[in-house]
């Protein structure tokens, strides 16, 4: 069985711990990180907005006024994803495969989960109370569309049951 753990900055240790606790010893573990295009894209856009500074042809050295900071962010992003996967593999402490993908994050996760026996992911929404808002749009999409069983974990201890709002008043027809 293949166990896929989707790791995101800030919440990944909980996913690694869940794999350690729940994945069978004979399963193949894949650690996945997906880089979205929007953060470098924002820097590309800000640079494009500096009318007249851009040199569309050829790349300039970093720090030159003609160098697009978005390119630098893409390079830095690759290095940081590798560092995150390294730290996760160390925390896991058993053989695993590292997978880096880039693209629309939630769709890449679903595509990577094809044929997996288990997808492990962490809640990415408002985690101050139990409820549907504890899932952000990306995790919501992955949970709704996953082609395999899903293990959804809290990145930190779950809030207690009192955070559930009282049930709506009973209506008599």
């Amino acid at each position: 069985m293949r166990v896929l753990a989707w790791l995101v900055e800030g919440t990944w240790p909980a996913c690694v711990d869940a794999v350690r606790a729940h994945a069978p010893d004979d399963s193949e573990v894949v650690l996945l990180h997906v880089s979205g295009p929007e953060v470098p894209g924002v820097a590309h856009g800000a640079f494009a907005g500096l009318l007249g500074r851009g040199h569309p042809r050829g790349h300039r050295p970093a720090g030159d006024w003609g160098s697009d900071p978005g390119d630098r962010l893409e390079a830095l992003g690759g290095a940081s994803a590798a560092a995150l996967l390294d730290a996760a593999a160390e925390r896991l402490g058993r053989p695993c495969t590292r997978q880096e993908r880039s693209g629309r994050v939630e769709r890449e996760v679903v595509a990577a989960a094809e044929g997996a026996g288990l997808l492990v992911l962490a809640r990415d929404g408002d985690r101050s109370r139990l409820g549907p808002k504890s899932l952000g749009p990306a995790v919501r999409f992955a949970v709704d569309h996953a082609p395999c069983p899903v293990l959804l974990v809290w990145p930190e201890p779950a809030p207690d049951l009192t955070t559930i709002p009282p049930p709506p008043p009973h209506h008599h027809p």
Binding site: G41, G45, A48, L51, G63, W65, D126
Partner: protein, 385 residues
């Protein structure tokens, strides 16, 4: 592209040669000032100022996203104000991203903050933004009076952005990094660069008292830093010239000539009916809103060139209201204006897959709120100073 266009408008007689020359002479000192600020910022980077910024942010935040956001706001505001918005976009943004990534914090809110603050925090000083340099030359204000009038709008606009960011990115900011991530060593302060920049700022104030052009002060500061880099063989004369971005300076001059031709051939009459008269609060709000819209349709640079001659007769208040609009407004559109965006889409230079919906939603909340409080603050400052 702008340089041949400028040649064309002069060659076809759309703009008489002496008008073109007058425009170039008017813009000459502005372009010189800009070149000095770009050189100053470039050699601050060479001295390690931005690396030190990264180290300071990492230690200050210690993996806590909200603290990192606060540090990014403080640094991006200061760097934009003193070393211009170019420095924040080209030099600080990669450092902020690297800092977030290294300390395990989600980078999105912090990178967005850099792009927004490069616009919003560029209100304070004439050197913060090329639009300010253009308006400063047209307004007849002294350096210190400009800064005094813009200080309150600058503070409240940044404050409004901060509140919007805390709410808009609440989810990303709630994901704290694992505690054991490396936050790096103590930053090594580039003292020489800091002292030079500090002296340059003080020089602006002194020069303004004695009626000396502040561009000379900026040039002196740039020469000190560039001279030191040359002496230590960290730069060649060629890198100094490239740090001044000569192609961009030529572009600014040419753009001025082209815009002058468009304004003289009918746009002035057209917009003259729309620009509000007077410097009451409602007139200032109207002027700023018009400037913000125009900055989003074309770009803030042509927008300010078009609007300045129309606003200048109403006095410095109207000129500064134009600045609030053209500086804060571009946060509404990815790539600063529809014109840039369309042009880039058409030539298919980049397919970045930015979530335009999210970007625009943030702009739709942040721009009107920060612009409105900034205009009210400007109106208040005009009553006091």
């Amino acid at each position: 592209m702008a340089v041949p266009a400028a040649g064309l408008v002069v060659a076809t007689g759309a703009l008489p040669l002496d008008h073109a020359r007058a425009e170039a002479e008017r813009l000459g000192p502005v372009v010189g000032f800009l070149a000095a600020v770009l050189v100053l910022a470039h050699f601050c980077d060479v001295e390690g100022l931005f690396q030190a910024c990264g180290a300071w942010m990492a230690r200050r935040a210690a993996g806590r996203p909200v603290r990192l956001l606060t540090a990014v706001f403080a640094l991006a505001s200061a760097i934009t104000a003193v070393l211009s918005l170019d420095a924040t976009i080209v030099l600080l943004t990669p450092v902020v991203f690297a800092t977030a990534a290294r300390t395990g914090v989600r980078p999105k809110p912090h990178v967005y903050a850099c792009t927004h603050l490069s616009n919003t925090a560029s209100l304070l000083l004439p050197v913060s933004n090329l639009t300010n340099l253009l308006a400063f030359a047209a307004s007849g204000l002294s350096f210190t009076r400009f800064a005094a009038l813009m200080a309150l709008p600058w503070v409240v606009a940044i404050g409004a952005e901060y509140l919007v960011f805390r709410r808009f990115f609440a989810r990303d900011l709630a994901a704290a990094a694992p505690a054991d991530r490396d936050t790096g060593g103590a930053p090594e302060l580039p003292l020489f660069a800091l002292v030079t920049v500090g002296c340059t700022l003080a020089g602006f104030v002194v020069a303004s008292v004695f009626g000396v052009e502040p561009a000379w002060v900026a040039a002196a500061g740039a020469l000190v830093l560039a001279g030191r880099a040359l002496a230590r063989r960290r730069a060649s004369p060629l890198t100094v010239v490239r740090a001044a971005a000569p192609a961009f300076l030529a572009f600014v001059l040419a753009l001025g000539v082209v815009v002058r031709a468009v304004v003289d051939n009918g746009l002035a009459d057209l917009l003259g009916h729309v620009v509000p008269d007077g410097t009451g609060l409602s007139a200032l709000l109207g002027t700023a809103a018009l400037a913000a819209v125009l900055a989003n349709v074309i770009n803030n640079l042509p927008a300010v060139l078009v609007l300045l001659p129309l606003a200048a007769p109403a006095g410095p208040g109207a000129v500064l209201a134009v600045l609030l609009g053209v500086n804060i407004g571009p946060n509404l559109t990815y790539a600063g204006s529809l014109a840039t965006l369309l042009w880039r889409r058409i030539v298919h230079q980049h397919e970045h897959g930015v979530d335009l919906g999210e970007f625009t939603r943030l702009g739709l909340i942040a721009v009107p709120s920060s612009l409105a409080v900034a205009v009210v603050a400007l109106w208040g400052s005009l009553q006091v100073f």
